[in-house]
């Protein structure tokens, strides 16, 4: 995998909006999100079910299922406008530039074809010049790279003859066989048991270092995020409510929803009598989203304005921003306090 390590911007998503036009009305699954990802960077997208985190990924891949549609914003991958690509260009892009792996490895491999067949196919879909023998060799070396041994035998086996963890390894090998610059992992460890989860995460971290690819890691598990990600976007009801580097999100959360997520997560250093605190209430009804901040109805700090107006993003630190009226208020107070403090000093000087 000798690749020149590129630097700079790999992916830029700006104000992306995805809606599902259902008979019951428009569901704004993704309501205007923006983020950037550099080459070799790993970003986690965290959120609960229905927060739009997967749909956002499908939009990048061009895999939105009808009646889902991108209705606004832009996606720029390596300087190219993804949304402007033709169907054929999208097919050429999928698998070669961007690969995707999914949640359930038990159902994501076609049960009636051998592992080898599916791997070779993934490679030859993008490079017809590779002979079948060469492709088989590449496939076997990929399998070895993802930690599968006895590859000769594995190539001839069917998915049902492999364990879940092994199948996810195969999925990863299949995703990486064309050396994509970006890997989108949609809850890749959720369906696996905990020990296998750890192994797969370890493997992905390892491969990421080797190949220097960018990863978008979609999950609802903050523990997984801490393990592998450089930065995190926390999504709620189709919007990114907080964005920042992993340490900032974990140690200085600046949005009540993030705080709630952290409190509901078991910690190793917790005292045995400490109970997990769930976030009260239920997720938003996406057909009739609330007017203001979508989290307001469940937020213990909710103020009057929260129910009426969506808060703007506030920079709360280096590359750390949050969409919460509390932060807006703090900022305003700081700005107010600054001149007052200066004035106070002057007074003191005069008196002295």
């Amino acid at each position: 995998m000798a690749q020149t390590e590129k630097t700079g911007k790999l992916l830029e998503v700006k104000d992306l909006r995805v809606s599902f036009f259902t008979p019951a009305g428009e569901v704004k699954a993704v309501g205007g999100i923006s983020y950037e990802l550099d080459y070799g960077e790993v970003m986690g997208i965290v959120g609960e079910s229905g927060s739009g985190k997967s749909q956002e990924a499908y939009a990048i891949m061009g895999l939105l299922q009808s009646p889902g549609k991108v209705i606004g914003g832009s996606i720029t991958l390596e300087g190219e406008d993804v949304l402007a690509k033709s169907k054929a260009e999208m097919i050429a892009m999928r698998g070669s530039k961007v690969a995707m792996i999914f949640q359930n490895p038990m159902t994501c491999l076609n049960p009636v074809y051998t592992i080898g067949n599916q791997l070779i196919e993934a490679l030859r879909a993008h490079d017809k010049s590779v002979s079948k023998e060469e492709a088989a060799k590449r496939a076997m070396s990929m399998l070895e790279m993802v930690g599968i041994n006895n590859v000769q035998k594995r190539m001839k086996q069917y998915p049902h003859e492999l364990s879940g963890g092994m199948r996810q390894r195969v999925m990863i090998a299949m995703g990486l066989i064309c050396h994509p610059q970006l890997l989108i992992a949609d809850e890749p460890t959720t369906a696996l048991d905990v020990t296998i989860q750890a192994q797969i995460l370890e493997l992905m971290k390892d491969l990421q270092k080797k190949t220097h690819m960018g990863i978008i890691f979609i999950t609802h598990n903050l523990g997984v995020v801490a393990e592998i990600c450089d930065k995190v976007s926390v999504m709620y009801a189709g919007k990114i409510v907080e964005q920042g580097l992993v340490d900032d999100i974990f140690y200085h959360p600046a949005h009540p929803y993030t705080e709630g997520l952290l409190r509901s997560m078991p910690r190793v250093d917790a005292e045995s009598y400490e109970r997990l605190i769930p976030i009260e209430g239920t997720p938003v009804d996406m057909l009739n989203p609330p007017e203001g901040c979508p989290f307001a109805p469940r937020c213990e700090h909710a103020m009057k304005i929260c129910l009426h107006k969506m808060p703007p993003y506030v920079e709360v630190g280096d590359r750390h921003r949050s969409a919460c009226w509390l932060r807006v208020e703090e900022q305003v107070q700081q700005e107010k306090a600054a001149p007052e403090a200066q004035a106070g000093e002057k007074e003191a000087d005069e008196r002295g």
């Binding site: 698998g95 995707m100 994501c108």
Partner: protein, 313 residues
Amino acid sequence: MGKYVIKRVLMAVLTLFIVICLTFFLMNAVPGSPWLSERNPSQATIDALNAKYGLDKPVIVQLGLYLQDLLHGDFRESLRMQRDRPVLDIITTMFPISASIGAIAIGWAILVGVPLGCLAAYKRGTWVDSLLRVICTLGISMPGFVVATILLHTLTGGIEGVNLLPALFDGTPKSYIMPCLALGFYPMCYLSRQTRTAMLDSINQEYIKTARAKGLKNGKIIFKHALRNAMIPVLTYLGPQIAFTLCGGFVVETVFSIPGLGRYFIQSIQNRDYPLIMGTTIFLAAFIIVMNLIVDLLYKLVDPRINLSKGGN
């Protein structure tokens, strides 16, 4: 695998035995006799004939004797339709005609029906899907003689200036066209609907999402990844349907005057030609059993997860 086949063959023999017994009793329970015709023969003649062909014995004894003959490979001779001609001989001359028409019919039904089903599933909810739905529902609900009559009317002179095909079957290639069209229309429509349903199911599976994420082209996703997974229900239908179609459609053979097995089978029942009824029934039953066995073995080829030795079907 070998063990499985042996088990299935033993089961087949048992099934066949039950079919033979049932048919034999039912056939004898129906009033009438092979000797009745326009000029009723005298009771003495009937008694003599019954005695000659062993029809005067109790049914259970007759069955025993018939089974004994069968075990020696003797299907006996026709009583009425072609008196004293061996039943096996009749079947072996009639079957090829029915089979050749049936094979062409089922052939085009598969070649057209399966792709149409894929198309309908791929274009679900569009006008293409709706149009195919209408055609297929018509084809499934229309009796065979209606299709045959429509074909006859339109292609053999019913419309001014259009007289493309011979109305009656005479063995020439041209005369094959209409019977094959008529016989294949129903299975084509049925296959198409079944393929559509199965395809819709497999298209929504996660491995299709994987295939799309890999950057495969639509054709490959549909025909390689989705279709093979949709083949099981289609195969299940096809097995017995092939047997039925090859043994001849009674209606189509009657409409086009084809000297095939299907028509002969029905006529033999009307004429109480007992050995001929038994012979054709056994032939059709054995054929269906064999087709089902082949289908079960094909399952394994289509879907490697199926484990035949553990009960199989």
